[in-house]
Homo-oligomer: 205 residues x 2
Amino acid sequence: MSPAPSPARRTGRPRSPEADRAILEATRAALVELGWGKLTMGDVAARAGVAKTTLYRRWASKNELVVDAVAALFDEQLELPDLGSLQADIEGVVLRFAALLERPETKTALMAVVAESTRDDALRERIRDAIVDRQKRLVLLGRERAQARGELPYEEDPSAAARTADLIFDVIAGAVVHRTLVSAERVDPEWARGFAALLLGGLRA
Amino acid sequence: MSPAPSPARRTGRPRSPEADRAILEATRAALVELGWGKLTMGDVAARAGVAKTTLYRRWASKNELVVDAVAALFDEQLELPDLGSLQADIEGVVLRFAALLERPETKTALMAVVAESTRDDALRERIRDAIVDRQKRLVLLGRERAQARGELPYEEDPSAAARTADLIFDVIAGAVVHRTLVSAERVDPEWARGFAALLLGGLRA
DNA sequence: GCTCTTACGCTACGAGCCGTAGCGTAACTG
DNA sequence: CAGTTACGCTACGGCTCGTAGCGTAAGAGC
């Protein structure tokens, strides 16, 4: 997730890491105020106190810039403390993920880049590395803990286990995203409880 | 879902319904070829054999145009034949929804307008009326059938029943969308079976 | 120190799209 | 027939894009 696709360089003036941070921060701020559609490269550059050309030297397109700007937020917020039971762990990750999605810059940006990624394989790859795969780790971690607690059986067939993990991941992330962005309703603790109970019931069957 | 926000008019030259159809069809075609980002109003007008001004007389923005263009596809494809069991019904609706999302014009457009709707309440309302609420009916229908078959209990508290229906809806639609667009993997019959089994297990618990 | 190399800020530019205005013409109503 | 509205066409100012060219700033290597 280095912010720039910089070629191997070892001589000459180094790129300013301060500019990197300023640009990404300006991108997030602009997303909140303007939304995806009205966000312009020139505006981001102005907010960051940076020339437009500097911006283009690092990111080839608005899409990639926004992916990187948002990816940092996921790293901050996504952890999975052990809450003692699988039910509690699921509720916890749901609430954390929902809190992230309720931030205006996150929801707008995430959906916009996902939309663009349906036509751009490189962008999808970038999203996968920067965001999706990191979330998926949480599913694997949660399962391991649940198995250690005896709440879930150990699956023998590793490919079946991987399919199950993918399924769980799509169900959790998909439900939270859909609830938040499409149904446009809050993910509150009550909803998280109901969802976790539903999922847990399915997992035990 | 009348294609245009036309004021009550009764005199003068009527709007050409042929132009309406041509514009919506051209919009879908352009989405497939160009994607959301590069889709321009001028291009759509040219494809439809219509003046750009005619287009603006009916739709105020690209967003609304695309919502209407895509909404028609949902009406075509979304039905819920009685397949004899709740498991089969869930699998059926999942596969139908997935087939819809795999069409290039649908997935790109749907995500793009959802992204825009995070900043535009009117657009969200339009999406809700044109797309989301229609899908939700399928959930209610499926539950009624399952209750009639004795597969699900009748819930007494109507508000709790509504919350459950909303939850199921977000889980089903969210999982399919996430699998298709974020994880970028196919929803095949095997996945549908696994998902339906998971959901069914949760519903019975 | 000095030179080499790269990043930076600034300005300017052609290109494309936006959304609207103005016009003359076409179609339908009473 | 007059009145009203839709249509196609052209033209326009305004904005954003992405790039090029310049002089300057900041490290790397000798």
